[in-house]
Amino acid sequence: MDFEDFTQDLSSLEVISKDDKKMSVKLKGVPLQYANALRRVCLNGVPVFAIDTVDILENSSVLPDEGLAHRLGLIPIKTDLKRFNEPSKCECKSETGCSNCKVMLVLDSGDTEATRTVLSDELTSEDDSVKPIADNIPIVQLAPGQRVKVECYARLGRGSEHAKWNSANIAILTETDKEDERILTVESTGSLKPEQIILAGVEEVGVRLSEFKDMINEVEA
């Protein structure tokens, strides 16, 4: 059985357990190399949103600019794969990006009267569907008189570029008693649902395989 048969017949996937973060599926009759390719793609081959560029308008906090930008970058962001394109594949073909490949998030702490923690719910996104997955991620702590004002630009990216774009925390294959059955377990970072990761992963492996096929054909010709 090759990968195309597998993608046409998704009945070979049997869901063992599923919740909103973690999912286990049984892969029947899928050769080990394809199953492993799928596992690796689930881990870091599916695009998700993460903050990539940060314009610092004001930062008088004790955290240096790069520390602040790094923390912002690591915040997992809800991703809608249907509505957005990766900047490299977007029709706008511009470096600055368009509304289909870039989302701006603004963070302004305002004047601080008492010491407080700036949380991720203060990040206001220009797109309602693209926002941090949790509201109470501490970004920085401010003393009275300190202020943080930043503009962040989130874009789709892949874990192979930077770990902040990893779609899954965990993706493992476990052997079962039967020879042609394996269990794929995927734990999402929260940006995508685990089933979305697996489905997008299957698609991605298909695309990569056909690209590889084309490459081989070109070499032969």
Partner: protein, 78 residues
């Protein structure tokens, strides 16, 4: 300086659970049980919360003092 946003090893989000964890542990609960209740199962993520020390808490008081002094000077000038 602050609790890291994600686990260094697996990339799981942990920072959002830190406040809750800290409050419960300070109230005298067993850290292992709190971590279990928060759904942090892997030991890579557990050590992130168990071993983090927020040094920002030690620095902030100095900036609070600076601000207080600043206000004192201002009021004296007036």
């Amino acid at each position: 300086m602050l609790i890291p946003v994600r686990c260094f090893t697996c990339g799981n989000l942990i920072a959002d659970k830190h406040d809750n964890y800290q409050n419960k542990v300070r109230a005298g609960e067993d850290p292992a049980k709190v971590l279990d209740a928060l759904g942090i199962t892997r030991y890579c993520c557990r050590r992130m919360l168990l071993t983090s020390l927020e040094t920002i808490q030690q620095i902030i008081p100095f900036y609070e003092a600076i601000q207080r002094r600043h206000q004192e000077v201002q009021s004296e000038l007036e």
